[in-house]
């Protein structure tokens, strides 16, 4: 596996410092760069875990029909057209006509009707299930959902659900009224208030009921907190008014209606000949009611709708993602992704790439791939007790040049506060990472055609500053640096990509992965980047870096770099035996 670099989103903790990388839980705080968002207002990274999400449109994933939100609830969040899912394998069902009547002379008849012969039924192309098996056929191949509607509406579970809705209707209306009045003046900036203002009445009713019935819950409930005085009166009133609910059916008599359970199941199990006669859990648990155990009773399912979502910053409610209205469009009206703000970092281990260089390919091109793969594994791993160089390539997405400084977070620095750290402290730090300590520049991002002429210019108009020392003046290409002792420092600058070298010294008893947290801080010009200025900017980088004009701004973020597993000491010997 190639080395990975993930970015930290501080939403899970109070501090901006990420958890130590060797804890398994730390993976929850780190995300791939392309999944992150960036809020310009807050100047902060946001991830999918912390953004608040709202639905901006519904569509059927099969017929791609955009369902107006008004009819979504009436259609129970499912497609009300001709889309059905196989109850057996969840594939999309297609409508097929019956076989044409056999003329008797063995030849295929030419169908007269364009649509085929009735009755029509639903057929699964994958598992060959068909709806005729369960006794569902259609007169005509269009408007299937409408044809099935009457069966669905008369099903005991949907009748019961309707009754429940009717029963709770006044309660929901009352509590949504009270919640809307109580949260309307919620002008305070907490994220909870913002997100709750957009919740629907059912959620409001549910949380109100929770707050009322379970003591202590209301303390954590932003709804109750924001409007305690006003709404508590309504709630007590609701409780008194709510009449007792009586179900349509008694549960003891339900099994006779084909809902399964009781003697009917015992009887069918006794005569079971084939395991596949019993519907498995996955096939049954989407139903709101207990259903029959038998495969023969499975009904085609209407396809659940999908949604397009817009995303907001949890702190300032600024929109980060706003998709276009059209369901199948992949464009966005607003898209603030972190990849446009933070430098992209890719890590590589030069000794792993060795295999990919021309000589090696020449050697292996003729050989079978298995031999090459074996070679690869032996050379690619990192052995305990050795030192390996690694490369980090940083790509600047901004139209301004930036100055970057990398710092490795000391994981095993004594942490006296936590008792859990003691076994960690007993273990020696398994590896040490060295990175260039000075800051280094990355040129501005420019469109591809602007690079054409500069392709062969090593430094892209950047002078080699003394501050990088010897490392700054390495003769350009990594091929040359490979043989040299000097591996830490800036290795290559090309367009808006700068490659820096680091080194990892792995301890003799080391195990696990070479994985460390790295603080990346970069300085950029904070004034509004006017296009005319960004053009001549590349010439002035070194000057800007040296004089540090006051309008620069620094942004820092944490990353975790995973260079891959360490091969413990015993293993190399085993491998050489082969």
């Amino acid at each position: 596996m190639p080395p990975t670099v993930d970015y930290h989103c501080p939403c899970l903790s109070r501090t901006t410092v990420p958890p130590p990388p060797h804890l398994p839980s730390s993976s929850h705080s780190f995300h791939a760069l392309h999944t992150l968002f960036f809020c310009e207002e807050c100047d902060a990274v946001r991830c999918n875990r912390c953004v608040s999400v709202e639905v901006s449109g519904y569509y059927c994933p099969n017929c791609l029909f955009e369902v107006p939100s008004a009819s979504v609830r009436a259609e129970k969040n499912r497609c009300a057209r001709n889309c059905f899912m196989c109850p057996n394998c969840r594939n999309t069902l297609s409508v097929v006509p019956s076989d044409p009547p056999d003329p008797g002379d063995g030849r295929l008849t030419i169908p007269i009707s364009t649509i085929g012969e009735p009755p029509f039924f639903l057929y699964c192309n994958h598992c060959r299930w068909d709806s005729a098996e369960v006794g569902i056929t259609f007169e005509k191949p269009t408007g299937l959902a409408a044809q099935l509607q009457k069966f669905e509406d008369s099903a005991p579970d949907s009748l019961e659900f309707e009754r429940l809705k009717e029963h709770f209707e006044p309660v929901i209306r009352a509590s949504s009224l009270s919640s809307s009045t109580s949260t309307a003046p919620a002008a305070h900036p907490s994220s909870a208030a913002h997100s709750h203002r957009r919740t629907n009445s059912i959620t409001a009713a549910a949380s109100a009921a929770l707050a009322r019935d379970i003591p202590g819950v209301s303390k954590y409930n932003p709804l109750a907190r924001s409007g305690r005085g006003g709404s508590s009166k309504d709630k007590t009133a609701n409780r008194d008014e709510m009449p007792e609910y009586r179900s349509r059916l008694d549960i003891s008599s339900a099994s006779s209606l084909g809902t399964g359970g009781g003697d009917a199941d015992v009887d069918s199990m006794r005569h079971l000949e084939n395991v596949s006669e019993v519907a498995n859990l996955e096939q049954r648990w989407v139903n709101s009611w207990a259903t029959s155990l038998q495969t023969a009773d499975l009904k085609p399912l209407r396809i659940p709708l999908h949604s397009k979502r817009s995303k907001r910053c949890p702190a300032c409610a600024h929109i980060l993602i706003k998709p276009e209205q059209k369901a199948q469009s992949v464009r966005y009206k607003i898209k603030l992704v972190a990849a446009n703000y933070l430098p992209a970092i890719t890590a590589a281990l030069p000794h792993q790439q060795e295999a990919a260089n021309p000589d090696a390919v020449k050697r292996t091109l003729g050989k079978s791939t298995t031999v090459a793969a074996d070679d690869d594994r032996a050379t690619a791993g990192m052995h305990a007790g050795k030192t390996y160089p690694f490369h980090l390539a940083l790509t600047n997405p901004l139209y301004d040049p930036i100055q970057v400084r990398l710092t490795v977070q000391r994981v095993h620095a004594p942490a006296p506060a936590s008792g859990r750290a003691s076994p960690e402290k007993a273990r020696r730090p398994p590896f040490a990472v060295s990175l260039p300590s000075a800051s280094f520049p990355i040129a501005a991002f420019a469109e591809a055609w602007e690079y054409e002429d500069d392709e062969d210019d090593d430094m892209f108009g950047l002078d080699d500053d003394d501050e990088f020392g010897i490392a700054g003046r390495v003769a350009g290409r990594e091929k040359d640096t490979r043989g040299k002792i000097k591996t830490v420092g800036v290795l290559e600058k090309k367009a808006n990509v700068t490659v820096v070298g680091g080194e990892v010294v792995i301890g003799k008893e080391a195990r696990g992965n070479v994985k460390f947290n790295m603080l990346v801080s970069y300085t950029y010009r904070s004034d509004d980047p006017t296009p005319s200025e960004s053009n001549d900017a590349e010439g002035t980088v070194s000057k800007a870096a040296a004089s540090k004009p006051p309008e620069t701004k620094t942004f820092a973020f944490y990353t975790v770099v995973d260079l891959g597993p360490i091969i413990p000491r015993e293993e190399p010997r085993v491998e050489s035996d082969f």
């Binding site: 969840r90 169908p111 990919a356 020449k362 091109l365 990509v497």
Partner: protein, 188 residues
Amino acid sequence: MDAPIFYSKTEFIETDTGNKVSRRATISGPQNIILGGKTIISSGAIIRGDLRRTGAGHAVVISLGRYCVVGEGCVMRPPYKTYRGNFNYYPMKVGDHVHIGANSVVEAATIGNHVEIGKNCVIGKFTIIKDCARVADNTIVPPNTVIPALALFVGSPGRFVEDLPESTQEIVETQTKRYYTRFQPLDR
């Protein structure tokens, strides 16, 4: 940082528009196939441009966009059906920046832009794949399936698993372009 992927110069034919077609690939009915440019057809791939609609005249059977890769051992075959008693093949259209993994069989009707199809997949007849969708390795997509935009499909039968990130388009675009630049000839 980007190690080149080398191929033997004698194996591939490069066209004026930058398409690279392996001599070991089977291209039937090349007059019915359109390659958009900078598209790579790997060795062992089979593209059936000969399975054309009945009737006179010129017909495009398979069209591929720019920066596509048809993996090793892939089979691209236009979908067919019997409609009103007539057996016929129907054209297949593939958009730009589409990568198809090795040993996959594709009989889709349309594949959008920025689509990734993994290795060892079967894409059934008349499948419609919208933009920026992804089909994981070893997925079987049954005939007539519709894969919506930005969806990840996995399994047998292929099912929706999750929505892909909003920046999928950019990621796939840079990946496919990078793959093309990395794909370099090697003289032997």
